[in-house]
Symmetry: C2
Subunit: 225 residues, 2 copies
């Protein structure tokens, strides 16, 4: 039984309202600029209720952050479920991130703000990335100096692309950015220019077909909506 079911439905509604309000506020200004009073007012619940569900504001931030990271992780897993080629997996992971910024700008905004962005943004992408880059190395598709450098390299490019899309969340920007930055990225990993361009174009075209990645964000496994 999931956490959602083992709670009193009333408590669950309150908790969800607090999380939704927190997400809205943390997206529009820095975490430290949001007070507990702001949150309970936006959620339309009493202040005491806040402390029933979270020990303090950090607790809420952690809960929101964990939910977001879980969603991205699942989305990347699903987008890559049947893809074997490491280069295509990396490309799809990057595109999933950018699609995420379009489909869920509020969550992406929180991700960019929380904890200087860096660690919390890296974590979910980093998870599968190490495996994919290792596989690419083993398969001889990637020619990179070290695993750590290659992973940092992909993370760096992806993070800045995400930040850019969060700042200006238009579909055309995400498509062109993902295509162009992916192409640079894949060439850096050792793919020939032609192949890099081709994979980048393929992956980023899928971004424009909302259905392809939107499905990956749908969430049958009982996380908050």
């Amino acid at each position: 039984m999931t956490p959602a079911e083992r709670r009193n439905p009333r408590a669950e509604r309150t908790r969800a309202a607090l999380i939704a309000a927190g997400r809205r506020l943390f997206c529009e200004r820095p975490v430290d600029a949001v007070t507990v009073d702001d949150i309970v007012q936006a959620a339309e619940v009493g202040k005491g209720s806040f402390y029933n569900h979270f020990t303090d504001r950090e607790g809420l931030v952690r809960a929101i952050s964990a939910e977001i990271r879980g969603r991205i992780e699942r989305a990347v897993d699903r987008a890559n479920a049947e893809v074997e080629d490491p280069a295509r997996r990396v490309a799809r992971a990057v595109c999933t991130y950018l699609r995420f910024a379009l489909d869920e700008p509020e969550r992406a905004g929180v991700l960019v703000r929380v904890h200087s962005g860096h660690t919390s943004m890296s974590a979910p992408l980093n998870r599968g990335l190490v495996d994919d880059v290792s596989a690419g190395l083993a398969a001889g598709r990637f020619v990179v100096p070290t695993l750590e450098a290659a992973v940092l390299y992909v993370l760096g490019v992806t993070q800045l692309a995400l930040v850019r899309v969060v700042q200006e969340p238009t579909s055309s920007l995400a498509v062109s950015l993902s295509q162009q930055m992916l192409s640079l990225l894949l060439r850096g990993l050792g793919l020939a220019g032609g192949e890099a361009d081709q994979i980048a174009a393929q992956a980023s075209e899928e971004i424009v077909r909302q259905g392809a990645y939107a499905a990956a964000f749908q969430d049958p496994s009982g996380a908050a909506h």
Copy 2:
């Protein structure tokens, strides 16, 4: 006459103490977690003095941030003063950043923390980078889809490398990181693998010779020390 000279020396000492204390504190924890009382206590000056020099805490942050960005800009300019080749200029700019993290970990730490890192970190590197990438395109050395994508790409890689070195500021890490990530980066920009490796190795070897870049941070032009 510079700002330093047109002030009463006593006032200048106070101001410098406040800036130094702020830098120390902003480096070790988030800006919002540092109070004005913390700062004046660390600087060993009265609280009223703080408000003689800055309108509020943000004013101090702005002053510190501007000083840091100025230092990096000048350092990059100096490191690239006699270098013409766009690929080598980009490589040296990246290396200057990493050397900066080693030579001035406190300032680099502030840079990473202030304003989610992104904009304030990008600005100084971004300045010359647009020109260098444009030049590289014009000279046929770079093969990139668009200028914006290429600049974001370089910024993304550099930022994450800087963050990594700030987290663990050892010379060997910076050298290996800069060499490896630079190699990936240059290949992404269209250079052949052999040439990318060669330029990366050259630029990053200069990092280990402290003198080469340390000189670039020395500051004859009268900014705060």
